[in-house]
Symmetry: C2
Subunit: 375 residues, 2 copies
Amino acid sequence: MPGAVPYFAASGSGCRYRDVDGNEFIDFMGGYGPLVLGYHHPEVEAAADAARRLGSAFNHPTSLLVELAEKLTQRIDFADWAVFAKNGADLTTWSIMVAREVTQRPKILKIRGAYHGTHAWCTPGHGGLLPEDRAHIHDFSFNDVAALEALFTQHRGQIAGLILTPFHHPAFADSQLPTPEFVATCNRLCRQHGALQILDDVRCGFRLSTNGSHTTYGYQPDLAVYCKAFANGHPISACVGRAPHKPAASRVFLTGSYWNDPAPMAAALATLDIVARDQIPQRLALTGQRFVDGFLALGKKHGLALVASGPPAMPYVRVADDPSFLRTQRLCAASVAQGVFLHPHHNWFISAAMTDADIDDALCRISRGLESGIP
Amino acid sequence: MPGAVPYFAASGSGCRYRDVDGNEFIDFMGGYGPLVLGYHHPEVEAAADAARRLGSAFNHPTSLLVELAEKLTQRIDFADWAVFAKNGADLTTWSIMVAREVTQRPKILKIRGAYHGTHAWCTPGHGGLLPEDRAHIHDFSFNDVAALEALFTQHRGQIAGLILTPFHHPAFADSQLPTPEFVATCNRLCRQHGALQILDDVRCGFRLSTNGSHTTYGYQPDLAVYCKAFANGHPISACVGRAPHKPAASRVFLTGSYWNDPAPMAAALATLDIVARDQIPQRLALTGQRFVDGFLALGKKHGLALVASGPPAMPYVRVADDPSFLRTQRLCAASVAQGVFLHPHHNWFISAAMTDADIDDALCRISRGLESGIP
């Protein structure tokens, strides 16, 4: 939305940030997810600072890597081991290679329109791709049990893994929660065909539950990838897996510059503790529900039909009957003009730094934005 | 070398670090490259701290991104634009996609044994790979002008790019400097065939020269990737390119969690300034030469034939006539036991935090390690 949104950030605190022109925004994106506790959470920053004083990109990991792996394997029911990287895509890509190595099969099933990163096998972009990049990637629609069954039948004995997000959170479309039948079918078909179930919990992880989003919906993953809310903005991602797959996982080479840096590991340890101690997922759900209910009520008040989707912790609200998203863009632009940062084509993120007063402030501002109507 | 090397780091300062058992090491790896100025460089840390106080993973970049892009395009002669990521591999992979998008051709030529990251098209690992991952990747030996000519002839009209490291720094082999004929041939063939020349300057950048390693050897790259020494251990990588390729580059989707974090950008700005102001490449060359000369003299003194290779800033010394690397492993293990961290199969990294006294201390320790002989 050229001209309607900030281009450069200047500073952030709690659930608010300022752009370089001094405009303040209540932040419903949180860096596209990482800032689940808000900017500058004092405990997370203190933990990272303490680790940083020891050093940065060492030749070896520090003991914090062991602590973090142990915390994850204790927290995540199916997890027997963990590896760490920087980006979500580092590990979604690695996880499909692990599935191929475990099964010695080539094919990966994925949800059409799901985002797993910018690598060639999954990027939503179109530039620079070759047909070979996706020769063994097969898409199907979220919740489409028949299509999933058909793929498993068609490619019998060739399917290495099924990669899923816990719920479907595509860009330019409503979010969709999984049906119980879909979850059960994913679990059954992976088990039946010896394919690995890979949960891309990058966007949802530690927002919907304290112990992995598979527990929210009933998935039985073999591998799960975490990032974003994992360390409240510090650069780290994680993949956890089951013991039988550890030897194969060890054969898929994985490393990167700076990966031994202890500060993000300290931040992740602190964030995981706070998420559990302060029951962050429950708070996000309550805060998000207040926001969504209030937003829909504003639509009624101003005569604008709205559609809300997604779990309240990661809501998405759009204008009804708006296939071009033009009116939804105008709705978000009007909100941004009043100091509420909303994205017109991507789910939003509730932050634990948001109080009821912040939500009411946001709703009041959005209401002002709606006063002159959304053409 | 199980049992002979530290497993977990505890703290670092300048050119030395301690493991969790309290053993101190003079560090000739520097986190496999990033710590070009040593641990906790005060100016770099102050710059990163100041940026960190503003916020972390914003929805938008801060103005530091613009400053850093401008500094790179001023510093690097051929660079008209810059993008930033976290790891080197984020951008070596992106750069081959850009070359494919620019040329609308599939094939990439690369040096056999060169390391460009862990992604499937280039990983040195063997697990989880498919034939399709490398269907259009063609290897040839560094400095082999005839082989390069033959590939350009064989795949005429199909070659998108040639990816190179400035000198050849393989694992489990000596480093090789490029011949003038090889550099001239790379430049000529890329120009003649309309293929992009991609310089993977991840490991060498800002160590051999202040303005990109292509200036050291005479390469004429179209794209260059920087990481490691770029920000003294803070997680950031960069790719720069020429103006005519900007539209195609813009079509190759690129993003990642935490990529707008201003602290690593502030660290990169400070590091680039210090590298130029303090003539770091010259200092690394002098310090490295003192180390290599002293190391070879120790070999003579102790009757151990040694082979040194690579530029002095990134030296590699091994035992002569040691195809299994077993004696080189024992040499490095003996040095590690005396508190000098050396890697037996990978080039080393001189740090600007090393004084002549540190080098002499390291040589004295290595000499003690050699006293009982290397079986």
